[in-house]
């Protein structure tokens, strides 16, 4: 083996996805520089009439919402005793934990004075929805870290410490799951509650006193959809061994949840006499229908087909549609549905996209390595075609 070959083997192989991630990280690095060295006006297209943009809409609202799978699965397994979901419990908790980590990192970009992020701990305003959200997110991120911690600590080489920790963890686990479920339910809905104060400005297709309920009801199926997608990818590319029937069981839960959400939206629109806006020729209405089609109609039709429920790849793409619909909903509420009243047309700057994408990419990379090196999912023994013939040892 020449020196060149030796050096080359020490570096990772260049593959398509690695290139993509590298490009995203490079762009993210520049965005970090733009945001923290050059300031908001260089890094973002935010203005006074549009003070919250992509970092809130995608980073926070979608980030928190799509991380709802962890609490739903944990509550199902520990509180409802649905043991059949236990094999995917750790994965879903890990996804949620990493999701909340991206939200916390995103906060550093989003806040004007991020070094004061601790202020809500000591400066209280109980009348603020955002205050409640910030406390719930802080506490729930801690809960998730604790829920996930055994996966890391069980790798400790010191048996006594390990056993002691795991015993302590076992004794508080149910309390953790209970607290996590309540905290999640609170802040998932309060994220919608943030927009209750925009009465008269948020488009009538979205503004409702039940924004809280809407956010809660849509977060659970979307969070579960993300869990299904992640597990499918683990099976496909990380050699994980999961009974695919579990995924189709989860999809059987998603369908009624989405249907319930759809019915709620419909009843609410009728109750508020807002149905007139459904057939107007305007951008907001168009986006509303895109959202409803992706989040409710298309997934319900697809999940109704046995072929889709039982084929992991079809299921994966159905979940991708749900996630896209969910993201459309959150971005509609936080950006597009406020645009008519603010009279500015906000299009995020590329650095805003890059910062969000880099944070998400970091979470995906962390997830990948966690699944590879920790006991998150059982793995198949390495198969023949993946074994790289090792170079003969040098004499």
């Amino acid at each position: 083996m020449t020196t060149l070959e030796k050096t080359a083997s020490r570096f990772p192989r260049i593959s398509f996805w690695r290139t993509v991630v590298a490009v995203i990280f490079a762009a993210g690095l520049y965005s970090m520089y733009a945001r923290f060295v050059l300031g908001f006006n260089v890094a973002t297209n935010l203005t006074d009439p549009q003070p919250w943009g992509l970092w809130v809409g995608l980073g926070t609202l979608c980030g928190v919402g799509l991380s709802a799978g962890g609490f739903a699965i944990a509550a199902s397994v520990y509180l409802l005793g649905l043991e059949r979901y236990r094999p995917i419990l750790r994965t879903s908790v890990l996804i949620s934990f990493l999701g909340y980590c991206t939200v916390c990192v995103g906060m550093m970009y989003e806040l004007g004075l991020p070094w004061r992020i601790w202020h809500p701990i000591v400066m209280w305003n109980r009348h603020s929805v955002l205050f409640e959200v910030s406390w719930c997110v802080m506490l729930y991120t801690t809960v998730l870290a604790l829920e996930f911690s055994p996966a890391l600590l069980e790798k400790l080489p010191w048996v006594r410490v390990r056993e002691l920790y795991l015993r302590w963890h076992h004794s508080i686990l149910i309390a953790l799951v209970l607290a996590g479920t309540l905290l999640s339910s609170m802040h998932q809905s309060f994220l919608g509650g943030l927009y209750l104060i925009t009465k008269g400005r948020l488009d009538p297709l979205w503004y409702t006193p039940y924004l809280t309920t809407m956010f809660y009801l849509s977060a659970i199926p979307a969070g579960l959809a993300v869990t299904i997608m992640a597990i499918y990818l683990c099976v496909r590319s990380l050699n994980a061994r999961v009974d695919m029937n579990i995924l189709s069981d989860v999809s059987r839960v998603i369908a009624p949840l989405l249907a319930m959400y759809g019915v709620f939206r419909a009843v609410d629109l009728i109750n508020r006499d807002a149905t007139q806006y459904l057939w107007m020729w305007r951008e907001a209405t168009l986006l509303f229908w895109v959202e409803i089609a992706l989040l409710v109609i298309v997934p319900l039709v697809l999940l109704n087909l046995q072929k889709v429920r039982e084929n992991p790849m079809y299921l994966y793409w159905t979940c991708a549609v749900i996630v896209a619909g969910f993201m459309t909903n959150r971005l509609n509420v936080s950006i597009t549905a406020l645009q008519a009243s603010s009279a500015v047309y906000y299009v995020p700057k590329w650095t805003e996209f890059a910062a969000s994408l880099a944070t998400i990419a970091a979470a995906v990379v962390a997830f990948r390595y966690a699944v590879i090196y920790l006991d998150i999912l059982p793995k198949n023994p390495p198969q023949e075609r993946w074994i790289v013939p090792s170079a003969p040892a040098e004499a």
Binding site: N41, L113, P120, L194
Partner: protein
Amino acid sequence: MATTRAILVDITKCIGCRNCEQACKQTHGFPLESEAKLSPTALTVVEERGDRFVRRMCMHCEDPACASACLVGALKKTAAGPVTYEASKCIGCRYCLVACPFSVPRYEWTKLAPLVKKCDMCAGRQAKGQPPACVEACPAQASIVGDRDDILEEAQRRILGDSKYVKHIYGSDEAGGTSVFFISDVPFEKLGFVAAPKQAMPVLTANALGDGPTVILVGGALLSGLYWITQRRALVALAEAREIATKRRS
């Protein structure tokens, strides 16, 4: 403590001299160039709408949306009337900008340690018994300051006494009532005034927040109950399995 102070702006009297803008900038130490829109260095501006001049500034709501929204309580309605901003508390979340029904607060987007900027009705000056700088500078008495009740009464007297006025005091019920009032002879919607909800904005979120404790209590009880059932079923199943095992052995 003095009673709540309020400002009345009579649009029919404004001559568009922009002395209020200048006085405001001087008091706050901002550069003196006139600006077209509210900005971090223009906390009040006179906008031209047709042949009328409309002064824009913080409305100093009685129950302000911004103060209810601010998670660290940096924005507060003071007993004297002004809604003030404590910069040292602010974390820069900008929820106040989202919450304000009048779109008043401005953010220092160009700074690396940006703060929120909005009119504070010269709370410092008023505490010393001086009128707000803008009111003091007005040569036409288009802006006057006084106790809120007296100011409202004066506004009432003017719009009832002269048929040219629109029969509405803008700010009397907008966002549940404010401490800055406008009267005009041109309909307010033609002057760019927003049709703000006629209710105190914090009520909108207070209802949802009020559900919090219920969610915790009812949800907590429900989940604990479900866990108890789960636990119980597991125990029963275990006991049954043991019974079967002992029977088989004997």
